[in-house]
Symmetry: C2
Subunit: 498 residues, 2 copies
């Protein structure tokens, strides 16, 4: 984009065709500064006021289509008008994940430092597919074994999401095995998780061409708190081997989505090793909390796994998206994911002194995600991060004590981290189906009030409500007030039922 | 994160363990405002000064590892210190993609509006995996046929990158065919591109489990300006069919990476349809320019393709990452990519009135990318966007005329968009290898000077230098000055050679 002074007739002609007035350069630094300050204030005001919005979007499907024009405008519109439309048209349609009363799914715990890191990454707008623009991954980690670090022959990489990480490791595992047994046997490979494993595993298996009948969601039980029992895995694997299938990959989960169950990593790795399977430990939610010495034991045994990941964008104050992944055998990733065209050849790569992350992930282009995680680590420091996480655990414990103190409710599964799974108990003489229906109504009533937002899960046939503490702005009084809202709606629902 | 006032002893204990002083809430709105303004100024100053930096990173492998500490700090560090480290440690290590003298690869043409949209997306920090948080995709598009739009039974989705888009469509195509012929025939499926197709296709084929021997990079020739000739494709497909293989997928490229060649979409679609293949049109670089009426013809025939994508983060003023993709048969995508666990069940999805984009992409979680593209469209308007694009084309034409006027050089392939592929001609009596070596030296000399950054490609054995205009800050005088730098280095290299 050029200035208006030009002696090039082609260029002048291009410029002259604009009858609506030629905007300043789209990266003009003073206009950037002016508009950037406006948007910072806009977002700061949003955080100041976010507790006032209904947490869950209260709009109906199609609302935005009716509000937005069919086509982009021909001429430019001022930032003031656009921000006004965001306030009036966009904000009512979104669910406010940063609300202090957000307890749904898992939190996306943003922070100022995470935001600023993303700003810097976006501003530099570097496309880091090879070494040139990628600094080494951040060195703070939940005390992982040496074998996962570059110094020990392994290595770390920032992915966007766990889905991508799982697909990369599964593809690496697949090709490592197929190289030995022949590509024609792809239809024999089997992938294992539990019936509590995140659907990302099944999706990764589908994409990687694993036969749909060879995906095993091994059953869990309430007795094991919905963790995958190594004996169940061993039985499933043995049955497959007996049928001539080839066990390939196990995903062990530390902190399942439904109930934050913790699969026993050490025991599962033993079974996997007996069968030469790749083990990925998915600690998407709970992994960040492993910087707490009192939590670290949940990944004991990880030294026997092949890869490990957690989402810093879940419970580690780093804005979406940022999945930290480590592998023991980077060569397997590179073998499965690399292609080396001429137009990317360069001296640094050929020197073998650098890591080209394009060969560790699905996409070629890479945003500079390390910057936001690095900003989080430096801005808060490990000591504060630990205290932030502990405050969430403390609030969840407090919520648990409130639930326990009300005899109409129960805590359904043991609380391990900062999520409490609870439900209304069935009234006298009523059975599980009644209880499930009452809890379904309770959840919908609370969410429709806009005062708090929670989601549900069903484990062992029991419908339960998940109360996940971790939104950055949540303070104790929000938890207490949310519990009061839940109690009020419960009283109404029980009264209407009886 | 809570306030310090608490009556919960667990919570008080957690807070009290912090001996380094308890930081304010990581999303405190006034601290967010203060730091946000600082970083806006930091980036505005960067854009003001970016022309002063050596464009290509001038550091050696390992430089950053020596500068950064091994572990994260225990206590918090002030933003002022962190920004200082970015200036001193990070900026010298990156390649400045936003420099006005950046002509390498393809541009990542950021803009103020793209940046602000990313800020808003990061600030809201919404994890849009289902309808709740995803507005409809932007409606401005390079006049695509109705069949690609929701109104015509198709649909659009924003992916991160073309790599992801290709993997999604390839997986959809794969499963659509395997459903008919049986999964055991996965080893027979064949994927086609040309020897100029981006390596993203090969990578997607690898990940999707296509047999590595069934990836065809059909040869192109200088006579066809390195576009894929439909007759060559037809011959390749016929040979595979004769061997009992099953043609699956063709990627046609509009604006190849090496030379911006344009594959003839209409003719290629005919061949593909004869063989029931899925055709994806990859216009990663050139697609945005299809909003120019004088350019739109390059995708003529796209109505016969199955999917189409372009990267708004390449040449459409939208900061990384944002790939716009349309498909005719969304049901094929959903069939290949969906999983529907209980914890994601909701009324909106079950109403079938909404689009859950998790089933249109690799990952479950989705950043709110629509916001930045929407900001770009509204802030600049179609008319200005056309003029910005035309100014880049005009600058490339001007550069082309400068090259042509210097008899030591030649333009190697016809210029179609805003990239000029040129080279030093071999001196008298010297052959192609000599010319290749001279151009290699010329490129390295210019890039090492830090005054401009270009990259190379080899087509038909000819090493050529790619001069891609499109960085947002590039003005005509930068192009003229860069040509002068190239000429000077050429004179030195030729003098040293003779």
């Amino acid at each position: 984009m050029g200035s208006l002074q030009t002696e090039n007739p082609e260029f002048a002609a291009a410029v002259a065709t604009n009858t609506d007035g030629f905007a300043t350069n789209p990266l003009d630094h003073e206009e950037f500064r002016r508009q950037g300050h406006m948007v910072v204030d806009y977002i700061a005001d949003y955080y100041r006021d976010v507790h006032k919005y209904p947490v869950r979007s209260q709009v109906e499907p199609g609302y935005l289509r009716r509000r937005l024009p069919d086509a982009a405008p021909n001429g430019p519109e001022p930032i003031e008008v656009i921000l006004g439309d965001i306030t009036h048209d966009i904000l009512p349609g979104i669910t406010h994940w940063q609300s202090p009363n957000y307890y749904a799914y898992f939190p996306s715990s943003g922070s100022t430092a995470g935001f600023l890191g993303e700003m810097l990454s976006t501003g530099l707008n570097v496309v880091g597919f090879n070494w040139m623009s990628s600094p080494p991954p951040p060195s703070s980690r939940p005390s992982l074994p040496e074998a996962f670090l570059f110094s020990g022959g392994g290595g770390g990489v920032l992915q966007g999401t766990t889905c991508e990480g799982l697909l990369c490791t599964l593809t690496a595992a697949r090709d490592r095995v197929l190289k030995k047994i022949g590509r024609e046997h792809i239809g024999k490979l089997v992938v294992y998780g539990s019936d509590q494993t995140h659907c990302a595993l099944q999706k990764a298996a589908q994409i990687a061409g694993i036969h749909p009948e060879n995906f095993r969601a091994v059953g869990t039980t309430r007795k094991d708190a919905f963790a995958l029992n190594p004996a169940s895995l061993r039985a499933a694997v043995a049955a497959d081997v007996a049928r001539g299938l080839v066990p390939l990959f196990l995903c062990a989960t530390v902190g399942t989505t439904s109930s934050t169950a913790v699969d026993p990593v050490a025991g599962l790795c033993e079974v996997a090793k007996e069968n030469n399977m790749w083990v990925h430990v998915d600690a998407a939610y709970a992994g960040g909390a492993c910087i707490l010495p009192e939590v670290r034991h949940v990944i004991d045994g990880v030294e026997n796994a092949d890869s490990f990941s957690f989402n810093a964008h879940k419970w580690f104050f780093t804005n979406l998206d940022c999945c930290c992944m480590w592998v023991k055998d980077p060569a397997a990733l590179v073998a499965a994911l690399s292609t080396n065209p001429e137009y990317l050849r360069n001296k640094a790569t050929e020197s073998k002194q650098v890591v080209d992350y394009k060969d560790w992930q699905i996409a070629l282009s890479r945003r500079f995600r390390a910057l936001k995680l690095w900003m989080v680590l430096r801005s808060y420091g490990v000591s504060n991060l630990r205290n932030f996480l502990r405050s969430h655990v403390a609030m969840a414990k407090h919520f648990e004590s409130l639930v326990t103190a009300d005899e109409r409710f129960e805590v359904v599964v043991p609380r391990t981290f900062a999520m409490v799974c609870f439900r209304l108990l069935p009234p006298a003489q009523a059975g599980r189906e009644t209880a499930n229906e009452l809890n379904r109504r309770l959840l919908e009533a609370v969410n429709s009030s806009g005062k708090a937002y929670m989601t549900h899960a069903v484990v062992g046939g029991v419908y339960m409500i998940r109360f996940a503490v971790g939104a950055t702005l949540t303070a104790e009084h929000h938890v207490v007030e949310s519990w009061r809202v839940i109690q009020e709606h419960a009283s109404e629902i029980l009264a209407a039922w009886s």
